[in-house]
Amino acid sequence: MADAHDDDVLAGMDDMDDVVRDFVAECLEQLEEFDRELVDLERNPDDREALASAFRVLHNIKGTAGILGFTALEAVAHAGEGLLARLRDGLLPPRPEVTTAVLRSGDAVRVLLERIGADLSEGDPKENATLVMEVERLAASTTAPGDGDAASAGPGLVEPPTGETATPPAGLPPVPADAAFSVDLGAPGPLATAPTDASVRVDVAHLDELVESTGELVLVRNRIVEAAVAHVDDPVLSNLIQRLSAIVSGLQDRVLATRMQPIESLMSRLPRVVRDLAVACGKTVRLEIVGRETELDRSILERIRDPLTHIVRNAVDHGIELPSIRIAAGKDPEGSLRIRAFHDAGQVVIEIADDGAGMDVDAIRRTAVERGFVDAEEAASLEDQELVNLTFLPGFSTTTEVTRVSGRGVGMDVVSESLQRLGGTIDVASHRGRGTTIRLRIPLTLAILPSLIVETVGVRFALAHASVREIVSLGESGDTGSDEVSLTILRGTPVLRLRGRVLPLVHLADELGIAGLEVDEARAPTAADGLPEGVSSKTDSWRGKLGAELEDGETILEGDGETGVEGGDESIVVVQTGGRSFGLVVDRVIDTQEIVVQPLGAVIAEIPVYVGATVLGDGRVALILDVPRLARRARIGAAIGAASPSGVVASEAQHEDAVGERGPAVGEIAPDRLAVLICQSPDDGRTAVPVRIIKRLEELPRSTLERAGGRFVIQHRGRVIPVIPVADILPERRKKLRHPELERAFLADEAIQVVICAWGDQRVGLVVHRVLDIVEASIEERSPPSRDGVLFNVVIAERVTEVLDFERILAMSGLEGVGPPISG
């Protein structure tokens, strides 16, 4: 190896340039690692491994810089290394100013490397003289008294415990020539044993071309496979095609993998960013990063670097409070910043959560009015979440003064825009006094997407497999053919009941405005050209059919072969987005295909329902549906005020259930029938809450739960609402616990299910273990209650169910008189 490199070096200037560029690129990578190790070190001074690793980085850079004749670089690296050696040997405590000095050396090294990478020159050799002197002075002056080596922080000092050679004086040749191209001199490490030929640097443009060509190859393969169907009786051909198919699939996987990078490379700078910013603001912040190994296409990685850094800076600068304020608020003086990356439904999610002050909604409200985004009256009526969403509007920023660290005129609006440009989304959930959680969802648009191909009114669409949970076929007559699945009407809207869950339904054709486009498949393209006006809605036709049935008081379509739905052989694809599911009604499901995502042209890229397009196996083009945005468009799963900008979804905490927002409906049910919400208790008992008193169903994060005056309350839509744990009032029959639900949720940090009930003008939240279903039950056969707080018992779905006596429950919780009942 050594000889080979010497030859390279001597072979000519071009080769020399390559050697230097490789050196620079490799060193820059190592420096990121270096920064992280240093910040770790400040936190855990005993982390000898981090110390040794940081030491090795500077040591290697110094060695190679010497060989290549970059003296200024060598001097800076040497000084930093000297300081690190003192730290490592315990001669210097890892105080912030020491760490800062080491980090500054690292920065200087980076600047020099970048300069060398650009024009092969170091610039002014004296530029860093002051820094070097300072670092050396720090290393020397703070040495423990009585230490024999006190006078010199220089080389050759001590025997390192890791068994590495001590820092050799600059210019001496104990570093072998090939050390420049391996990461490590002696200490064991994954890279130490990996010689240069184990990995090769490749121009990213080559990778992109490879991915593109492979994508085309896959498409050709798919078409060959289809074309060969006509020749199944030719064993040679079938065999060849099978081979081809397998090879192409393998090739595709591997080619795509080359462009995937762990998100680590994005995160590696953050500890340093957070640390520097925290020090500058006089704050202490603990940064926790989970999911560094999550992989993402590198082209996307590059494009989320700035938004992510901005969010992190914001969290430290504006989110986390000064230690004194935190102490006064009863918090740990050290702020916490958690970054979590994970794959979810074919997307990468990055969550940035701080435990700071949360967004100042009053300031946002004021700014919104000042800047004319909303008028004063409207602003006053906006919910907190809606106000938070306002910050995404272009030109919105609550910091009137541009602060040194994260202001710079770049606000959340810019972050949101860059995310949207990538086809990603951003959610913000902010709770005053408890912090802000920002969730970025980033699509893997460049990857191969396993997809479900569906068809509606003759047009095919692809749905990312990852968002599909199951497919429910309605069969010829609309019969679901199963007791567990049925269609029904809830408050005038068709919904799908699936194993006890109630899911909203979305007709794809309605959502896309093509419901009237009933055409012959072959002619679809031409006919689709003029989408007819005033087309009939599939939802309406369903509502008509199902509504008529409902008046008879029967559940619709359940095992009833006679009850046809128009276009009766439709399928329902149950899709999931975020934490919510809904049923997407399509004419039929074609098959599953691996598709290559192609971006949409500029003319149609703005349509917020597609993530791209693809060429199907038969050569036709299909649009790829963007499930989260489709859900948003259909207003599923999110409470978005009119003021919310498009592309911003409300936080999951605001998600509504199928009954949300429709308010209580009184007197629509015959007296012998009662619409109730069925809940499961922790020991699998059944309780029912009359639907007419229910305002909303919410799944709320534990953090919304607060103790006030000896009881639990939540803040909901600007009100403080007392909450009653049903399991506490109607205790479990098998085990007795005090506040079992809430205490457990409190401890486990779980989400809580809250049924918000209206009692006159008042709101009371019932905390239930689990919401099962909404049914209209016959209450003719009721039996007297077996305990207080229960109106009566009734058998629903073969289970004895206790129907809650809401008024009694209020009284038992000491909440009597909070308001009059709406109706007797």
Binding site: R460, D529, A602
Partner: protein, 150 residues
Amino acid sequence: MGRIVQFCTFEVGADLFGILVDEAKEVIRLDEVTPVPLAPDHVRGLVNLRGRILTVIDLERRLAVAGGPSAGGLASAQHGLVLDVETGGLCLAVDRVGDVVEVDDDAFEAPPETMPEALRTMLLGAYKIGTERLLLVLDTERVIAPTPAA
């Protein structure tokens, strides 16, 4: 005698249009166009050209040209003129594709004032061909510029 310029010509409705020869890549038949619901009215859909997806712009709608064979009903333009556009594959749906025409740059004039506004804003100018015919030069950048969805 000015510079000689070559235009690729085509007809939409009764009008003769042209784009610079360098802008046009090839002519394809528009057989299977996948409609794009919610797209602007003038987007016919997507076609597959050897694995590449092109967006088809319906020129008749885009230019609001009346009187063509497809007027008042479903679009019928079956010829696609593929543009060499950096920003993504685009294809113009036209009624008939004509010859490459050479014109003298000196004959260039502004679009006639009498033209409907919608059409005139999409033109760079016009050349007189012979004695009666006008070759309308399309401003392709304007034509393919995204417009807010209807």
